[in-house]
Symmetry: C2
């Protein structure tokens, strides 16, 4: 097992009918800015309930945080925070709203040029204080409700922003608030959670037995409840299990002390930026192809994955691995997500452009071992074009 630090101070408030506890969670007599995305939090009255739960505070609103939240949009919220001297940020939405809110929290307390906050990658941004944040989660997927990271879009690029100050003080996870989500968003959330898990699990053996078993538990749970919660959105237990898995897939727990990959996310971000393909869809397209191309490097963990997640124990090693890759792709397709790049209108001649973008963004040595070159990224994209 590798040495690690694990720290996660977010207070999770999980379950039915917890919104009214906002009154106890948010300090009284302060200025609260509520941040959200499109109109669905208004349409389904979540915003109204949130505001009702916060009497005796001065409430401001900032809507319109888009999927893949834009730096330029968030700057407007920073201006509002500074102008009104806001004390607390409450994100009501999914990963984009939470990520955007984290950035606003950091940027509001940053004295330098705000754009510099996009340049620190996976290192903490140089900042000593930030505005406190709470979240009300309406989309289970990114795990942003219980981690200290955000991904911000600017000028066609996606930039990670990290700070231990960005952990939400609390996150309310009421699975019933997610019942109204469109099926495709739930499917994307299942896939995002699945890929977060395998990026920290299908690498090379490092004797993280607890971590492996916990990752396998998340994957098996997603396989059990994924289609069920899309087909029956108001099945409370199915949805609750998805929501809690989504949080635990990216709160630091399963990645502590083991290697991590993140190739799928890195290449996926380029596909989203260039072709507008949903984040979850890019992951479903790429992951099986990455495993096909990187079979040798991930052999032992792919075998373990085949056995422990899919109960595949018959046949020679390679056929077991191939079967596991095939079952993974089928799982994504059964959730209603296409796994061929061509299905999204991307033609073969675009591969050069994607590879050039990876090079431009310095993503030339990806994977848990840093040996995934641009040539290998090209092979992956070729495999992903028209796999079955």
């Amino acid at each position: 097992m590798l040495n690690f630090d694990y720290y996660n101070p977010t207070h999770i408030v999980f379950g039915k009918d917890r919104l009214s506890e906002l009154d106890a969670l948010v300090p009284k007599g302060i200025k609260v800015l509520i941040l959200y995305g499109g109109g669905s939090v208004k349409k389904f009255k979540t915003l109204e309930k949130v505001i009702q739960s916060l009497p005796n505070r001065e409430i401001f609103e900032f809507g319109g945080i888009e999927p893949n939240p834009k730096f330029t949009t968030l700057l407007k919220a920073v201006d509002l925070v500074k102008k009104e001297k806001v004390d607390f940020l409450l994100a009501v939405g999914g990963g984009s709203v939470m990520d955007g809110t984290k950035f606003i929290s950091l940027a509001s307390h940053y004295d330098g040029e705000v754009k510099d906050l996009l340049t620190h990658g996976f290192q903490p941004v140089p900042i000593k204080t930030a505005l406190p944040i709470g979240t009300v989660v309406t989309l289970p997927a990114t795990g942003s409700e219980m981690n200290s990271g955000a991904v911000i879009s600017h000028n066609g690029g996606k930039f990670p922003v990290f700070s231990p100050l960005a952990f939400p003080k609390f996150s309310i996870l009421d699975p019933t608030l997610t019942y109204t989500l469109p099926a495709i968003q739930v499917a994307n959330g299942v896939i995002d959670t699945f890929i977060h898990t395998v990026e920290q699990y299908v690498t090379y053996p490092e004797e993280g037995r607890f971590q492996d078993r916990t990752a396998e538990g998340i994957l098996r749970t997603l396989i059990e409840v994924g289609k069920k919660t899309i087909d029956n959105p108001t099945d409370y237990n199915a949805r609750a299990n998805l929501v809690w898995c989504a949080t635990n897939a990216l709160n630091g727990l399963i990645g502590a002390g083991v290697p991590q990959d993140w190739t799928t996310h890195m290449i996926g971000h380029e596909l989203t930026a260039m072709f507008g393909i949903d984040h979850g869809q890019t992951l479903a397209i790429l992951q099986p192809s990455i495993w096909t191309v990187r079979k040798d490097q991930k052999w032992k963990k792919l075998l373990q994955y085949a056995q422990r997640v899919w109960d595949i124990t018959e046949g020679d090693e390679e056929s077991r691995i191939d079967e596991a890759i095939e079952k993974t792709r089928n799982f994504f397709q059964e959730l209603g997500v296409n796994t061929q790049l061509t299905s999204y209108g991307v033609t073969h001649d675009k591969i050069d452009e994607v590879v050039n973008a990876l090079e431009r963004h310095g993503l030339t040595a990806l994977s848990e071992t840093g040996d995934l070159t641009l040539d290998i990224s090209r092979q992956i994209l070729e495999d992903a074009m028209s796999n079955k």
Copy 2:
């Protein structure tokens, strides 16, 4: 899944050669009281290394915190803290030292009669501030390094004490610091971790799929590494997996949103108090008998346990459950721990005394459903006398 709150702000510092990071973790220029148990932290130079890692602080020491830490011993440390105006408590040891340190932290800031802190059971003690704590863990077992509870002994009783202020600020978990432990203490630690896990898992189905899989992962890991880490104490990965499982078995993670039992611990505490049997040994004695007597109530989860933890899939349901109980008992015995109460010199006529003690302490409605009466406790003790 049941509604739940999950909050755990302890910073875990895990791995080899982390002791020197104490200098960055403990504020400089303050008064630090280092607390420990017997002489082993001196004998094996852990204490010396800790002190070397804390230059520029005024260091005080308080040794002699006994297993099952006594209220009267801890009061002496509280006096020292108040007299010297200590700023920070650093526990160096196992669960007893950590639990004792938590109590000292709370008691040092409590204005009322300190003994009252023992009377709040599993409710938080009424206190607004406490002295900050750090820990250096030398015995993997109780999970105290990452939770907010303590068990304090007084006048033949064991009293739980809880407060969110009792979470350690940090805990250093260096598996190599545990290499010198006697085999029996490691065995007790494996069993304590195993029972912490099943007390939150073998109850009734409540659709906590992530929680169940994570619990099963801990149990399977303990079965894989338990004997190995006793026989080969310097096998780093085996010991590291035990240490990390011990923490995760009782940090709130696997118990969030599911029923919990704790019968084994409650009856076990009486056996420790009355006969001086090690805590881990009491659990090994009682758990298989509790399952034998409570088979009907725990039927579904025992079947799940048989299948997912022991891979038992053949035979009728009852024979699978019986086989799982038998394998559990054998596992404890293979670790070198006797599972018959008679092996510890306890004779059949003592059962009345144990039952009377349970009654005196109000433990008359135990278990996840509150229907485990004194009569049932008697049946459990009778079964535990001389099982094979």
